[in-house]
C-alpha cells in the first residue's frame, strides 16, 4: 500500500512545506489559548491558525484533504482532469479523530460531532465508503489498517485524514488529569512536566493501484495494533504491549530493528509516557537517540490527539521521499517506525519504507 498524496494544516501553517526539514526548525512556543478563567493558565499550540479555523474540524480536514488529492496528481498535469474525475469516483474516506467536530457541540450545542466524514466526502465528491474512527490518540495509527481493508474491497484509493480541532472540553480533561505542562511540550527532556495540546489535520492518500500512482512517497510495509488493558488513561509502565506491538509490526514488514532508520514515537512530554518509551526505545534501538534518527514531533505542533499519528506518518513519508534532499542532514532513510499510545490503552505501530 503506497502513499501517493499528502496534505496538512497545523499551528505551523498550511501545506507540506511547513514540514520540510523539521530538524532545522526551533521548537515552537505555545500560547495561552483559552480565555476562560478555568483554563487561561494552560497553553495551546494554535500558532498561525485563527480561532475559527482552529475550532473547526471540518475546515481543517477539508484543507488537508484537498491538498492531498491535488498533490497526488501534480506531476501528471496532462492527465490531471481525467484522473481527478475518474479516480474520485471510487475514493474512500477514513476520518481519524479523538473528539470530532467539537465546534458543533461546544459552540452550537448540537449533539453530533461525528458527522464530519459524510460532509467532507460530499464536498470533495468522493463516492467511496466514508467512516470515522475515534480511538483517541491512536486513531490515525489504527486507521491505516482500515485503509488497507477498504483498498482490498475494491476502492481505487483511500484518503486518511487525521484531525483534531481546538476543544474546551478536551483541554479541561487534560488539565483535570494533571498532565499539562505550564510551559511547552518538551518530549523526552529531563525537566518535562506534561503535554500541551495542539490542533490541525494531516491527510494521506493511499493506493494499491499502480495506474493511479504518479508519485509514491512511501509504502506501508508493516503494522500492528493491540491494547494494554491496564488503565483508562495511563499506559502500562512495563511497556509489554507496546513492545509486542512494535515487534509484530516489524515482523509483518519482514524487517529487523537495524533496518529502521527513523523513529517517530508518541512522545507526549508526560513523565510516564515518555519514560516508558525512552526505556523501551533505548533498549531495542540503542542508536535511536542520535539527533537525526528520532523525531519528536509534538515539540513543534503540540499533541494533536487523533491526528497525531497522521502527522507522524506524513512527516515520515516526507523524510523517506526527500531523503538527503530537503533535509539539512544527508542521511538516507530506508524505513521509519511510527508508534502511538492512547487513552483506553490502544497501541499502534506502523512501518513505512521507501517506495520502489
Amino acid at each position: 500500500m503506497n502513499i501517493i498524496g499528502l496534505g496538512c494544516v497545523s499551528c505551523l501553517g498550511q501545506g507540506l512545506s511547513t514540514f520540510f526539514d523539521l530538524q532545522s526548525l526551533q521548537p515552537t512556543k505555545p500560547e495561552r489559548g483559552f480565555s476562560n478563567i478555568q483554563l487561561n493558565d494552560t497553553q495551546f499550540y494554535q500558532g498561525v491558525l485563527n480561532e475559527g479555523m482552529a475550532r473547526s474540524g471540518f475546515e481543517l480536514s477539508l484543507l488537508a484533504c484537498k491538498e492531498a488529492l491535488n498533490d497526488a496528481v501534480m506531476f501528471k498535469q496532462e492527465d490531471k482532469d481525467k484522473f481527478f474525475l475518474s479516480a474520485r469516483k471510487n475514493i474512500a474516506l477514513v476520518l481519524a479523530t479523538g473528539a470530532g467536530d467539537t465546534k458543533q457541540t461546544e459552540l452550537f450545542a448540537s449533539d453530533s460531532p461525528y458527522g464530519m466524514a459524510k460532509k467532507i466526502a460530499d464536498t470533495l465528491c468522493l463516492s467511496g465508503m466514508f467512516l470515522t474512527i475515534s480511538n483517541a490518540c491512536s486513531s490515525s495509527g489504527y486507521a491505516v489498517s482500515i485503509c488497507e481493508d477498504l483498498l482490498d474491497e475494491g476502492h481505487d484509493a483511500v484518503l486518511l485524514c487525521g484531525v483534531e480541532a481546538k476543544s474546551t472540553a478536551s483541554q479541561a480533561v487534560f488539565k483535570s488529569l494533571l498532565v499539562l505542562d505550564p510551559d511547552s511540550c518538551r518530549p523526552f527532556e529531563a525537566d518535562r512536566n506534561g503535554t500541551v495540546l495542539g490542533c490541525g489535520a494531516a491527510a494521506l492518500l493511499f493506493s494499491k493501484n499502480e495506474r493511479n500512482e504518479v508519485k509514491r512517497y512511501a509504502k506501508v510495509s508493516g503494522m500492528s495494533m493491540n491494547c494494554d488493558a491496564f488503565h483508562a488513561t495511563a499506559p502500562d509502565p512495563s511497556g509489554v504491549q507496546i513492545r509486542r506491538c512494535i515487534d509484530e509490526s516489524l515482523i509483518s514488514a519482514c524487517l529487523s530493528y537495524q533496518d529502521v532508520d527513523l523513529l517517530i514515537p508518541h512522545a507526549t512530554g508526560t513523565q510516564l509516557n515518555d519514560r516508558i518509551e525512552m526505556d523501551l526505545l533505548s533498549e531495542i534501538f540503542p542508536a535511536c537517540f542520535e539527533s537525526d534518527s528520532i523525531l519528536l514531533l509534538k515539540k513543534y505542533i503540540g499533541h494533536t490527539g487523533g491526528a497525531s499519528a497522521a502527522f507522524s506518518l506524513l512527516v515520515a513519508a516526507l523524510y523517506l521521499y526527500f531523503s538527503g534532499v530537503k533535509q539539512s542532514n544527508n542521511k538516507n532513510y530506508r524505513s521509519a517506525l511510527i508508534s502511538c499510545t492512547a487513552f483506553g490503552g490502544n497501541n499502534s505501530s506502523v512501518i513505512l519504507s521507501k517506495a520502489c
Partner: protein, 293 residues
C-alpha cells in the same frame, strides 16, 4: 468464503433487556429504566458515565470470562453519543462559572473510546480494539472491521456492539453487544457469511456485485425509508428478486434512531432468521450479509 459466528447477542436498552426473542408485552420504559445494580453489583462504577455502564452491563451477560486475558480478543464499538453526556457537563460547568470543570475520576468518560477501553481493561482483552463513530451505522462498520480481524487471524473472538445515550431521553438509550468468533460454537450460534459493505451511488449495475452470492433463502431489507432503500428495492425488483422490507415501529419510535439498524439486525440474530440481508443506511451505505441459522 468469508464467515464468522454470532454466539450471543445481548440488549440492555430502554425498549428491551435480555437475549430472548423480542417480547410481545412491551411496556414503555421510564427515564430511570436502567438499574446498574442488577448487572454490575453495588460498587465499582460510581464515576462511569451512563453509556459506559450500559456497555459493561451488556458485557456482564456475555459468556466472556473464559476468554479473559487473551491477546486474541478485541472490542469493537460503534457510537455517536458515548462522550456527549460528559462533554456537556464540562460546558455547563463553564457557563455556570464553576472553578472545576470536571473531576479527574470522571474525565476519562470524555474520551469516546472509553467504553471499549474499559471493557478491555476489565476482561484483560489485549487484542486490537476499535471505536467507530458517527450516526446510524457506526456499529455496522465496527462489525465489518471485526470480521476483517477474525478473517486475518489477528483475533479469534470479538465483542461487537453499539451504545447510545440521549441525555434528555435516557429511555431511548442503551447498548447492544454481540460475541462473535471465527469458530462455530454449535447449535446456538448463527453463521454470518459474505459480510460486505458498499457506498450506493445510484447506478443500477451496483446490485450486480451481490447477485452472485444471493442464494435461494429469503431476501430481507433493513433500513428506514430513504432514497437508497428505494433504489435498492427497485433494482432488486428489476432483477426479478422478491424481498421483504422489515420494519419494527416499536424500535423505531422508542429507541434512539442511531440504534435502529443494529437493533434490527440483532433481532434477526435472536430470532434465528436465515436469509440474504441488506442493511441500508440513509447515508447511502449498503451492507450485505447472509445469515444461516
Amino acid at each position: 468464503m468469508k464467515r464468522f459466528y454470532v454466539e450471543q447477542a445481548i440488549f440492555v436498552t430502554g425498549v428491551f433487556e435480555g437475549d430472548a426473542a423480542f417480547p410481545n408485552d412491551y411496556k414503555k420504559a421510564s427515564k430511570d429504566w436502567f438499574n446498574p445494580v442488577r448487572y454490575l453489583g453495588k460498587k465499582g462504577y460510581k464515576y462511569y458515565s451512563e453509556s459506559l455502564r450500559y456497555v459493561l452491563a451488556a458485557a456482564s451477560k456475555l459468556m466472556i470470562r473464559d476468554i479473559a486475558g487473551s491477546e486474541k480478543v478485541g472490542v469493537f464499538i460503534g457510537t455517536d453519543s458515548a462522550d456527549v453526556e460528559s462533554r456537556k457537563e464540562i460546558m455547563e460547568n463553564l457557563k455556570a462559572g464553576n472553578d472545576v470543570l470536571i473531576g479527574a475520576a470522571s474525565a476519562p468518560n470524555c474520551s469516546v473510546n472509553i467504553a471499549a477501553g474499559t471493557m478491555a481493561q476489565k476482561y484483560q482483552f489485549k487484542g486490537c480494539s476499535f471505536t467507530f463513530t458517527g450516526p446510524e451505522d457506526a456499529a455496522l462498520m465496527a462489525l465489518w472491521k471485526a470480521q476483517k480481524c477474525l478473517g486475518s487471524d489477528q483475533l479469534e473472538v470479538a465483542i461487537v456492539g453499539q451504545v447510545e445515550y440521549i441525555n434528555d431521553q435516557p429511555q431511548k438509550s442503551g447498548a447492544i453487544l454481540w460475541k462473535i468468533s471465527s469458530s462455530d460454537m454449535g447449535e446456538s450460534s448463527v453463521e454470518v457469511q459474505n459480510f460486505q459493505c458498499q457506498r450506493w451511488v445510484g447506478s443500477p449495475d451496483e446490485i450486480d456485485r451481490w447477485l452472485p452470492v444471493i442464494d435461494d433463502a429469503p431476501i430481507y431489507i433493513l433500513g428506514k425509508d430513504s432514497l437508497f432503500l428505494k433504489a435498492l428495492s427497485s433494482n432488486l425488483e428489476f432483477k426479478g428478486h422478491s424481498f421483504k422490507h422489515l420494519v419494527n415501529d416499536l424500535i423505531r419510535k422508542n429507541l434512539s434512531s442511531d440504534l435502529y439498524l443494529y437493533s434490527m439486525l440483532s433481532f434477526l440474530i435472536l430470532k434465528k432468521i436465515s436469509g440474504n440481508i441488506f442493511v441500508v443506511s440513509s447515508k447511502g451505505h449498503v451492507y450485505f450479509l447472509k445469515l444461516k441459522c
